[in-house]
Amino acid sequence: MKRIEVFSKDWCPYCDRAKALLDARGLPYEVFDVTNDPALEAEMRERASRRTVPQIFIDGEHVGGYDDLAALDANGALTTAVADEAHERSHHRLLIIGSGPAGYTAALYAARANLKPALVAGMEQGGQLMTTTDVENWPGGDIGLTGPELMDKLLEHATRFEAEIITDHITAADFSTRPFRLAGERGEYTADAVVIATGATARYLGLPSEQRFRGRGVSACATCDGFFFRDQPVVVVGGGNTAVEEALYLANIASHVTLVHRRAELRAEKILQDRLFALVEKGKVSIAWNSELDEVLGNDEGVTGARLRQSDGQTRELDAEGVFIAIGHEPNTGLFTGQLESWHGFLKVRGGPGANATATSVPGVYAAGDVADPVYRQAVTSAATGAMAALDAERFLSESEIETRRAA
């Protein structure tokens, strides 16, 4: 809770009102009575640039008199202004941002190296796999292993070796000072080394109609929203693994699935393509080759169809209650713009032979998983680079400690 100071005088109805308001909100405050204290009154005038009472300060910031306090309360900002101080501050040798396979594996390796890492889980704890049904390509995975199950196991494994999991999501990062400084919604963190494993988020096409119907028929998550389209026709846009997996999943629920792809062949794994083509044979799925989504059609109720544009320029309309966008992912690097070198939005890492392959352009900051990977983007490759980043960070920390000791 932030400190609230109320400068008042002994006979002052507005001072009483201010105190009553703070009491009503259950907010503790300190009263400074300036009635017979010229020095204190001078301090108040100095800090408030006003001579009337009451004058109220929150966390040293001047709020004003009773009216200002009441206005702050009326628009709800009072509780937030005061509550912000719930912020925790903590220092960590290694801070890991992100809780997908890369983040959890980095935490596991760093914890076993006795770095006592902290992992900030982010808004979507578990990452993209939380919306994946079957994970069939995790080495050693059981038959029927689902994405959420795998992520639960990885979390459990990381915490088994004393990795601290922090439920927060980072909103600001400053890599220009040592230790590095990061701020989240709930806490502020400093760290000697950082592993960025913020992953990627589903990409949308950017059509105004797509935005307009988001949540009302347009979705990027078949496993979340397929439920709403039982026995209704749907469209899936894309040609990679995600698009085909979504089409296969939806084929069990929807009356018909049309996969819209801008090329004449799919990028998805052959085994997925085979399953898809089997459903095409059965008439459950059809594929609109060389076509792009031109516009999502709908009314006040939501989506009613999709207009496709073929590569020859012709358009056609399809009936559909749902439109699932599966055209790939964008790396979550917005936080680091201008601080770390990037390539088409992906963090640039050193790569190549030799150690430090996961090093970014700032020494002590490492990147792992989809945030630095426009090519492979697998759970297992993310986990692998997470392990590499933890090992790189460990080496960096032990070398910088040797230097510090030498300097001392």
């Binding site: 009326a74 937030t80 979507e124 578990g126 439920t167």
Partner: protein
Amino acid sequence: MTARIENLTPENFETRVVESGQPVLVDFYADWCAPCRVIGPVVDQFANDYADRVDVYKVDVDSSPELAVRFGVRSIPTLVLFKDGAPVETLVGVVTKGQLGGLVEKLAA
């Protein structure tokens, strides 16, 4: 500790939401929806922080699909903010506590 948030059904929806004297936030979710589990604690925390200003409820779309249909919810998680019994804001997908707070401040302004 946070009190458990009550689940709404078509039967109690009118009394809880339409006849409420203050804004009401409704979280449409399902048990099998992973992003819904992510947003759950955010909504709980919000309900706690804004206990005196906003009523918060949940709708399980599995057991009360009628309510999802009635408010055009076709994605979960979806949060719908009601004022005077009518939906005024809809947030689809995962949101932060900050975004939720901002929504309510905007409503009060």
